[in-house]
Amino acid sequence: MDMAVSEIVASHNHTSPVDIIGAQPVVDTRPLAIEARGLVKSFDGTRAVDGVDIAVPEGAIYGILGPNGAGKTTTLRMLLGIIDPDEGVRRVFGHDRPHDVGRLIGYLPEERGLYPAMKAIDAIAFMGALRGLPKAEGRKRGLELLERHDLSHAADRQIRQLSKGMAQTVQLLGTLVHGPRLVVLDEPFSGLDAINQGKLERMIRSLAEEGVTVIFSTHVIHHAERLCEGVAIIAGGKVPYAGSVETARDRIPAQVRLETRAREGGWNKALPQDARREGDFFYFSLPETGVEPLLKDLIAGEAGILSLSIERAGLHDAFVAIAGEAAARQLEADQAGAGS
């Protein structure tokens, strides 16, 4: 049964809580582009993905964050219908079979793949044709996209004649040529230099501004932190957290950094129990009562406040708290590996 795009969008126009495992559920009125519950996938007896729940509202930029081998790609492949889950359900625009809405999806796999003998413009048109775009229209739109990215000179060159960066851009344009409503990017920043990473970030933001849902996997925290509205933190095939970036950061109390003239005094007793001294500074979690009562005690005790700053936890801290030290260390190693 074929449905027009507008019908599909209308057919699943329901509200759903976006935060599944977040600290405090936030009701989002937007319909879901992707919804997955209890996804399980095993390969030869090993659970690669173990009960993943994800809900991505339409128009969001959503990150799947985790170290290599955590199950990010397997999760994306299940969401896209490339492989089927052993257990659980997945819905893309309300459809159980992602291929039924293939026209609405654009996918850039981690391993970039193009036919080397194909011309760039034909490669873009072919990828559009796979998603139902007529060949002539694909070529027309492909030329426009190439021109917009200063690559019109490469349109008639074979893929094998292009630089790696140009070929990656061509593939990305092929992912977008048919005008998808959901764009799934698997490790899109890997292999790109800083300039192209910046371009890609702008492109992702631009897509989201047009109402396109963007999901990307990454093991680089700052990409997720800068771009994403929501993240799923994945480690060891499980998703210990899926929700908004802000909620994730709020799970960790803000850190206070205090500098005083006096080193010791009665005011020391006013400091929270977790306070530790490093050089000239005290570090401790922001008390639940706020900083005002503490300030009063410090002033009364003549601590001589030189500086006081409150730093909100970053996504990295949240990742460490949620996924554990081991996963965080692996993530850092992956980032270092990718950067080297």
């Binding site: 027009a4 795009v5 990010k72 492949r77 219908g81 490339i82 981690e110 793949g113 080397p116 796979l130």
Partner: protein, 433 residues
């Protein structure tokens, strides 16, 4: 960036046929306009040309070698009588009468010794007749003596006879056909058609083995698998290669026809076959050829879907090459099963050969040559098409299960001994997680 709002009325997905068409079109064009395709087209022509030349030369040599000339070392009168006897018998016995020639050396040498002459490997005689017309003596190797003893005796007897020989005239009447000759003719047609079908599928279906290698090597397979169902990818690839095969057959057919137009007489002479009067199949040539095309397509799709699945498990060209041999053996076995049904003792096997999907096109093509029943071909084609669908579905599911899986999970897996299991873990889609 995106124009999705303007595409709201566009269908949300391609049908399987549309998706298969996108794949088929890409593959067909890519193969057809590749340099390698030229070599592919030329490939089968080389053995045909070489075979034709070798056959022609071999035919000449064998023709020369088969001319049996027997030398005569007798008196002049006896020689003349022997030659006369041979000429008298030749109209009645034709090729059974050997060519006779007087040996010049014997005529000029009264002490001529036939045995020494042959042992010295002089002349080109298979044997020599000495003695007199009443008591001829045949000298030669054991085989030649045994072969020509009787004819020489008959020739000498005829030549020695003073009275002219009167041979009664045999009245003859011919019929167009008989049950026995018609069946024999149709069996020949059936065998020949099976052989042609086998050669074509062997030449062409093997190409499918490495058909997914490019997609796997270039990591395009994941893009295809994400966009359209895997069975549509399989179907598209199969039909693309079938199309390429038809182009190949058309080219080879055209070259063959041109070769025939130029050298029909030579071909008929060399092959000793009158192609213009080949025995007709039971269903007549037009229908038989149409069914031949249909059964070739089915044989190709059936074997191709199997080969595509097997080949998809391979990760390297070396693995594909290693698989080629057992795959060729499988084709041979299928052919032998179908060919066996044409033998007197193999008729019982025909229903099984028809029912078994892989041998079904071969067995049914033979049946089209032998039997006039038409409806059974419609049923057989439907049966074969059903199996094509099942094999494609099964192959694509197998591919999805075994190949389209992440490599990262494999890092913790146990070592496997199976070729396919081990390879499936290797990073065909790496580095996934």
């Amino acid at each position: 960036m995106t124009d999705h709002m303007s595409d709201m009325a566009v269908k949300p997905r391609l049908s399987r046929l549309e998706a298969a068409w996108v794949i088929a079109r890409r593959d067909f064009v890519a193969v057809l306009f590749s340099r390698a395709f030229l070599f592919f087209l030329l490939g089968p022509l080389f053995p045909v040309i070489v075979g034709g030349l070798a056959g022609s030369i071999g035919g000449q040599v064998s023709k020369q070698a088969s001319v049996a000339e027997i030398g005569i070392a007798m008196s002049e009168a006896d020689s003349a009588a022997l030659l006369r006897g041979a000429e008298t018998l030749r109209p009645q016995l034709g090729g059974a009468v050997p060519a006779l020639a007087v040996i010049p050396e014997a005529a000029s040498d009264p002490n001529f010794k036939a045995k020494q002459f042959l042992e010295a490997r002089k002349g080109s005689y298979v044997a020599i007749v000495t003695g007199t017309i009443e008591t001829p003596e045949l000298v030669g190797t054991g085989g030649q003596v045994a072969r020509w003893k009787g004819p020489i005796s008959l020739i000498a007897s005829t030549g020695a006879s003073a009275a002219p020989q009167n041979f009664p005239r045999v009245q003859t009447e011919t019929v167009a056909s008989s049950a026995a000759s018609e069946r024999t003719s149709r069996i020949k047609t059936a065998q020949a058609s099976q052989m042609v079908l086998f050669l074509l599928t062997m030449l062409l279906a093997g190409m499918v083995l490495s058909n997914l290698a490019e997609e796997k090597g270039n990591k395009i397979i994941e893009i295809l698998a994400a966009a359209i169902p895997m069975d549509a990818v399989f179907m598209g690839k199969l039909f693309a290669m079938l199309g390429v095969s038809f182009v190949g057959i058309a080219v080879w057919g055209t070259v063959g026809w041109a070769f025939w137009a130029i050298a029909e007489d030579a071909i008929v002479t060399v092959t000793q076959t009158d192609y213009r009067n080949l025995p007709g199949p039971a269903l007549g040539w037009p229908l038989f050829i149409a069914l031949g095309i249909a059964y070739f397509s089915m044989a190709y799709l059936l074997l191709g879907s199997l080969f595509l699945t097997i080949g998809a498990m391979a990760n390297t060209v070396r693995e594909v090459q290693t698989m080629s041999m057992p795959v060729t053996m499988m084709q041979l076995m299928v052919f032998f099963v179908a060919a066996f049904t044409l033998t007197p003792g193999g008729a019982w096997m025909e229903p099984y050969a028809i029912a078994f999907p892989l041998s079904s096109p071969f067995a049914m093509l033979a049946r089209a040559a032998m039997d006039e029943t038409l409806w059974i071909h419609a049923a057989a084609l439907a049966w074969q098409a059903l199996w094509v669908g099942l094999l494609v579905k099964g192959g694509s599911l197998w591919f999805k299960k075994r190949v389209m899986k992440s490599g990262g999970a494999g890092r913790e897996k146990k070592k496997r001994t199976s070729l396919f299991t081990r390879r499936a873990k290797e990073p065909t889609l790496e580095p996934a997680e």
